[in-house]
């Protein structure tokens, strides 16, 4: 499983990292995001609602992100 390491990065970089990475995995597949910025949990939750992708909280800094949406804008 792909691991996206955003430890030490400030918001919105962890969300940008996960948005870029999820475009590279097939529908229904998951990746793990590692991030310790305090905005990651609320922003990942909002990102999931806005983009239609799934998330599961594994720990405070560990998130399972599942691609459930075919399209979506990928940030530069």
């Amino acid at each position: 499983m792909i691991e996206v390491n955003s430890i030490g990065k400030r918001c919105p970089q962890p969300i940008i990292d996960v948005a870029r990475a999820i475009g590279n995995i097939p529908m229904g597949e998951s990746l793990v995001l590692l991030a310790d910025d305090p905005a990651t949990l609320p922003d990942l939750t909002a990102w999931s609602r806005m983009t239609g992708n799934g998330i599961k909280i594994l720990s405070e800094t560990n998130f399972l992100v599942t691609r459930q949406n075919q399209s979506g804008q990928v940030p530069h």
Binding site: C11, P12, I15, A39, M50, Q73, P75, H76
Partner: protein, 359 residues
């Protein structure tokens, strides 16, 4: 280089009428109203007139009203005067941080969560304890208005402490309240002057060490009180027409941005928000960079993003609502703002987000 910065921050310059009065009041209202001299008598008359006028506009009996120099402190007095440690304390997740701080000192606290629109989620509270309920009228960050009467009905035995520091007289006081706090800046009055009210039936005791039976220190600035009273008079008159005009402008800002910018997250529904507040977050955009970009185009706005806060924490209000916290801006429309300036701000936001996303 942009010469003029157009202000859409929550703070506004003192109302022009209040400014004139303030300068005059510094000459007229310097004496201690509690003394016997001629100047003190004049100060006492000015003080009494100002308090009568303010209490009439806020719909609070004048003998229930106290003046204090700080909005957050007014809120603290309003809440803490009702609380005892054995009481249950209930507040919402989007209350001011000061309310959360009070909650941390209490042994029996319940935090009410909110939905995506910022409204308190219904909850049944079966308890034998006496309850103090902190209830916010309008939220300073998002403008979200709570359905106060509905919530009050859910807690029929609670003593309700209303936080009206942000909404001021924009909202009517609900029928039942034990205490309430107000801030003059909410009606374009001066900063450094605030009010709290204690209902006649409320079991309220001064929460700070005190030497007599006064409910609050009397050390506030009389000139600021007089300026605050004049500002309220003028603001209430303007609000009659400005409220609906600002609502139309806010609706246009929301629609234009939602139609023009992908992946934006607008906090709360305008129908249940104060008409002059809009909070919008843009996915994949850095809040501080957006603020700087708008500033270079001549517009000042606020932000709830973590990168713009002193402690680098995201807005607890946006997080509790489930709204995106990064790339956030808060727009406040003050009385007298022109539709051309609002349109120019809207276009500047659209351009700035596109610029930052393309970098």
């Amino acid at each position: 280089m942009v010469q003029v910065t157009r202000n859409f921050q929550s703070e506004a310059p003192l109302h022009v009428h209040a400014r004139e009065v303030l300068l005059d009041a510094i000459d007229q209202g310097w004496s201690d109203p509690g003394k016997l001299s001629q100047s003190a008598a004049r100060a006492r008359i000015l003080q009494g007139e100002a308090l009568e006028s303010i209490s009439s506009h806020l719909k609070v009996p004048v003998d229930c009203l106290e003046v204090i120099g700080e909005g957050n402190l007014a809120n603290h007095y309003a809440i803490s005067g009702l609380l005892k440690n054995e009481f249950g304390f209930i507040h919402s997740a989007i209350d001011r941080k000061d309310v959360h701080a009070i909650a941390r000192t209490q042994s029996h606290t319940t935090q009410l969560n909110v939905d995506l629109n910022g409204h308190i989620i219904s909850t049944d509270q079966a308890t034998e304890r006496e309850i103090v309920l902190a209830l916010q009228g309008g939220n300073i960050e998002t403008g979200v208005i709570q359905p106060l009467a509905d919530i009050a009905r859910r807690f029929p035995h609670a003593s309700i402490a209303l936080d009206f520091t942000s909404c001021g007289p924009r909202l009517p006081l609900p029928e039942l309240w034990a205490s309430a706090s107000f801030d003059a800046t909410s009606w374009q009055g001066p900063s450094g002057i605030a009010f709290f009210a204690v209902g006649k039936q409320a079991r309220w005791t001064n929460p700070l060490p005190h030497v007599d039976n006064t409910r609050a220190p009397r050390s506030y600035s009389l000139p600021l009180l007089l300026a605050s009273s004049v500002a309220l008079d003028a603001w209430i008159q303007e609000e009659i027409s400005e409220s609906s005009r600002l609502r139309l402008l806010s609706a246009r800002v929301r629609k234009t941005i939602a139609d023009s910018v992908s992946d934006c997250d607008i906090a709360g529904d305008l129908d249940s928000s104060m008409s002059h507040k809009t909070s919008i977050s843009f996915l994949y955009v850095h809040g501080e960079e957006l603020l700087r970009c708008l500033e270079t185009k001549g517009f000042s706005v606020d932000s709830g993003s973590a990168c713009t806060s002193a402690n680098l924490q995201p807005s607890h209000v946006l997080a509790a609502m489930g709204v995106l916290t990064h790339g956030n801006i808060r727009i406040t429309l003050h009385h007298g703002v022109s539709s051309e300036d609002v349109e120019a701000l809207t276009q500047a936001i659209i351009e700035s987000v596109a610029e930052l996303r393309s970098q």
